[in-house]
Amino acid sequence: MEPISIEGTTKTPIVKFDAGSGKIEIKGRSIPENSIEFYRPLVDWLEEYSKSPLDKTTVNVQLEYFNTSSSKCILDVFKKLEAIHKAKNEVVINWYYEEDDEDMLEAGEDYESIIRVPFKMIEIVE
């Protein structure tokens, strides 16, 4: 599978999906007006990856900001990961948040309560 590598912009995140290493990374800002367009290829990629995933998939999500339009798309991404996990493959979602950013921690906890995949909440201390 071809990896995905997308540079970040002021409104969209850095994305690195690599089937070879089982590493999935979303980092930066996700505040586009229409997020479906941005996330559709990512969800499609995960759908394909879920057919023959590695034994272990590591997901790193490190967002500075995300809007509510993205929040639904991020849930779609997590639902694909949940399916991989449900099929008895190891999946870990590392949810990074900046020191004192309680909103971002809480957002991670919201996902954790919806998605049946182990989450690790990781505080970034500067």
Partner: protein, 185 residues
Amino acid sequence: MSFDVHEYFSKLNGGDVLIAYKGSITTDLINNVLEEIEDKMDGVDEQAKIKKKVYNVLVESLQNLYHHIEELPEKLKDDFESKFGILVISRENEVYRISTGNFISSEKIKFLKDKIDKINSLSRDELKDMYKFILNHQKLSAKGGGGLGLVDIARKTGNKLEYTFQHFQDDYYFFNLDVYISEEN
């Protein structure tokens, strides 16, 4: 006499104004405002988490505007640009206020008013549940809005959403929403 949008805009322009805009709400405008507020907030002596909250809430407010603005009918259009909206961000006594305004047709008022009143009646935990329910059960609309914006704003600010609907002309009203971000919450 019908509601005077421009006079109203002038009144909002009190206190320590960071950004005041009236005109078309476009993607470019949103990008410019976000860039400008980020530059301005960089120079302000303020807690990082408050700066972040202001930015977050501003993104939602602007995108709500962008997705929900209604065009006025031709005969009322003369004085207003297409996709007309207003935005004023100000600070007074360490409280940030983000005011947005747009035209709305009368048949949509009830839905919006009920939604805001409902949000305002909920506790912090109830808002969290509502957010999670919408997140998990409702599809994104074709416009891209998810019905989550106002809930998210209420959660992040911890304050009530203040609003007015003022009659403009015929079936058209001007909807104004004031969102407050303060340190205690």
